[in-house]
């Protein structure tokens, strides 16, 4: 067991016994080394099940609104930024959440590991490693993969691996490893398409969508009590999936998340159809950065971005669309 894992358990127990937390949300191990699932500990014994490893990809901020309060929660850099947005929007009050922040070296994308070793999954017994490499133990042998190559795409573009807000930080702060030129690489390709070709590109992507709502439900910021995807009167999108309505739904989601989305990438990870959903949010995130130098989820004291106005705000549009 890693030192960080032990400290998470200790902090969880402390939150339950000394801080009056009704529940600690963290991760527990599933049936396999790469299977991890959110865990809700309400007793110190439950807290013994908490783990920290390379597969803790889920954003636990998603569970905070519905959780009994006060709640303690294990948050990575991206997760903590999502919580900041929730705090700015008063969906939860700061004194009701005890943040066990964990600097994160990135989470593993199993699909990136799979073709790299010949071992079939059933022989894998370990998925360990440090900040430089991932070590897959399979069939008694070790396979080493450079960490950067094994990570989820969102983690390779992460600029804030250390939580911006926390009550206790478990582990040392981690410097971002993001390569600035790669940060918006896929986005630049899409931006480069002619408008009709771009529309065609997205409609093709959304041809696959089955409207399972995993993207929406996994999103920590999608907390509308009534969603246009569920409304029948008035009807915004048809219940049966079709590319136009699927795309419309995602555009509404992206606009709703403008100035709020922290690119935690959960929508894309959750999508069972491999639709590159992050690109919609990142386009808006990039424009905000270019236009206003704003990054969502960094300061829980400030007002939400769309509620901010300064006389010094310039009248300008995004590059290339003057």
């Amino acid at each position: 067991m890693s030192d960080i894992e032990q400290r998470i358990r200790d902090e969880a127990k402390r939150a339950l016994t000394e801080r009056g937390a009704a529940c600690v949300i963290g991760f527990r191990q599933g049936r396999k080394p790469w299977r991890v699932t959110p865990h809700f500990a309400t007793t110190p014994e439950h807290a013994e099940k908490l783990v920290w490893n390379n597969a803790c990809a889920a954003n636990l901020a998603t569970y905070i609104i519905a959780a009994p309060k006060p709640v303690a929660v294990v948050l990575k850099g991206c997760d903590a930024r999502a919580l900041v947005t929730l705090l700015q929007e008063h969906q939860v009050e700061r004194d009701q959440v005890h943040i066990i922040g964990v600097p994160c070296a990135g989470m593993i994308d199993l699909e990136r590991l799979e073709p790299r070793n010949s071992a079939t999954w059933e022989t894998v017994t370990g998925l360990d490693g440090d900040s430089a490499e991932v070590v897959v133990t399979a069939g008694g042998k070790e396979y080493r993969v450079a960490r950067a190559e094994a990570l989820l795409a969102r983690c390779r573009a992460c600029a804030h691996p250390t939580p911006a807000v926390y009550d206790i930080l478990v582990g040392d702060p981690i410097d971002p490893a993001v390569v600035e030129t790669e940060r918006y690489a896929r986005l630049a390709e899409i931006e480069g398409m002619a408008p009709l070709a771009r529309r065609q590109y997205w409609l093709e992507q959304f041809e696959r969508c089955i409207r399972c709502n995993a993207c929406r439900n996994v999103c920590p910021l999608c907390y509308c009590r009534e969603c246009i995807a569920d409304l029948r009167e008035p009807r915004f999108v048809a219940r049966q999936p079709n590319p136009e309505d699927n795309f419309l739904f995602q555009c509404v989601r992206a606009w709703h998340a403008a100035g709020r989305c922290v690119d935690c990438g959960e929508c894309e990870r959750a999508c069972p159809m491999d639709i590159p959903l992050r690109d919609l949010g990142r386009k808006l995130e990039k424009e905000l950065r270019d236009l206003f130098g704003y990054e969502a989820g960094m300061d829980c004291e400030s007002a939400p971005f769309l509620a901010q106005f300064a006389d010094s705000d310039e009248e300008k549009s995004a590059a290339g669309r003057e």
Binding site: G30, R31, K32, R35, V36, T37, P38, H39, F40, A58, T62, Y63, L110, T120, W121, E122, R208, I210, R211, C212, N213, A214, R216, N217, V218, D230, R232, A238, R239, Q240, P241, N242, E266, R269, A270, P272, M273, D274
Partner: protein, 347 residues
């Protein structure tokens, strides 16, 4: 019916002949779903499985049922012919044993014997679409078909069951239609030998061993009867995000909703996938919702598969395909749920 073998380099020629009569659907290169193909040489892929099961060929995510128009003579309604679901004969190639078994389970649901209603759309699609299965060379991570009583790996519920024997395919005709499919490959097939049959059985047994975890899928039925009011559902569903991944991608889940699309004074009625995991699945006009939270919905999903349908059909409605395990964004693992519940004592 006799068994056959076909050399691998002749299999494409066989499919080409079948392609003259049928539109052939096989797992697409991206692994997402079955798609129309004329690339007969690569239609039979030995590994992996599609993310979307082939059930959508028979129960599409959206399916028009009737068209209506309010005119001067009143409401005119035109029913959609069930046969139009498939625009002609189709052939599914490379269906995995789990998914083939799932289709035989859906047959029961949509047939008059079990549900009291013969579904014309489903029946028409099934009648127009024979199935050729192919045994997996490798199980996927999360597969547990070895535990599923409905799945027969050596001889799955397909019209023709293929098994890759290295340089040739073992081909078993499991129906009259299957016999005709093989007859269409006249001159390409040879009779299978006892050694071929032995090799087929060995491969199926090996795969079964690798996908068997000892989960009590059939035994859960009796257990669940006493667990309807168990507090365990609450713990087991805590991380559930209420999305539809597990059920939409389940090859045996078949619940649907019926909706109208109306523009002006005309429109159409369609049915589309629905799921017990969605909040509004049981929402009533009064605002009452008997399955408001994930625990009640998990109970519905589990009991429907492992208790209610087994009560009616004597079949367990889980084929161990592992899709819900691999694709749940919250890492919920139905194998854990099954184990937990089978170990729980009734309160």
């Amino acid at each position: 019916m006799p068994d056959y073998v076909i050399a691998k380099d002749k299999a494409a020629a066989w499919l080409r002949r079948l392609g003259e009569k049928y539109a052939i659907y096989a797992p697409a290169a991206d692994g997402i779903a079955f798609a129309r193909t004329t690339d007969y040489a690569s239609a039979l892929q030995p590994s992996g499985n599609t993310r979307r099961p082939p059930k959508e060929m028979f129960l599409p995510a959206g399916q028009m049922m009737l068209i209506f128009r309010q005119g001067e003579q009143g409401m005119q309604v035109t029913e959609v012919a069930p046969e139009s679901v498939a625009s002609g004969p189709r052939l599914l190639v490379g269906v995995r044993p789990c998914d083939a078994a799932a289709l035989s389970l859906l047959d029961l649901v949509f047939s008059e014997n079990y549900s009291g209603y013969e579904d014309p759309f489903y029946r028409a699609a099934r009648a127009a679409t024979p199935v050729i299965s192919l045994l997996c060379a490798e199980p996927l991570e999360g597969c547990f078909c070895g535990d599923a009583p409905a799945v027969d790996l050596a001889s799955p519920a397909a019209d023709v069951a293929l098994v890759d024997l290295g340089d040739r395919y073992f081909a078993e005709a499991r129906s009259e239609t299957g016999q005709q499919l093989i007859a269409a490959g006249e001159g390409l097939f040879a009779a299978a030998s006892d050694a071929d049959r032995k090799a087929r059985d060995q491969l199926a047994a090996d795969l079964k061993a690798r996908t068997t975890e000892g989960l009590p899928l059939a035994g859960l039925r009796e257990k669940l009867r006493g667990l309807h009011d168990s507090p365990r559902w609450r713990e087991l569903a805590q991380q559930c995000l209420r999305c539809g991944v597990c059920s939409f991608l389940c090859p045996t889940c078949h619940c649907f909703d019926i909706q109208d699309e109306v523009v002006g004074c005309a429109g159409y009625r369609y049915r589309c996938w629905d799921t017990c995991q969605f909040t509004d699945f049981t929402l009533m006009t009064s605002g009452e919702n008997p399955r408001r939270e994930p625990p009640e919905r998990l109970k519905q999903r589990i009991c429907h598969k492992f208790e209610y349908l087994p009560d009616r059909t004597e079949m367990v409605y889980c084929v161990g395909c592992g899709r819900c395990v691999r694709l749940c964004p919250a890492g919920l693992d139905v194998r854990e749920t099954i184990e937990e519940l089978s170990g729980v004592h009734a309160p």
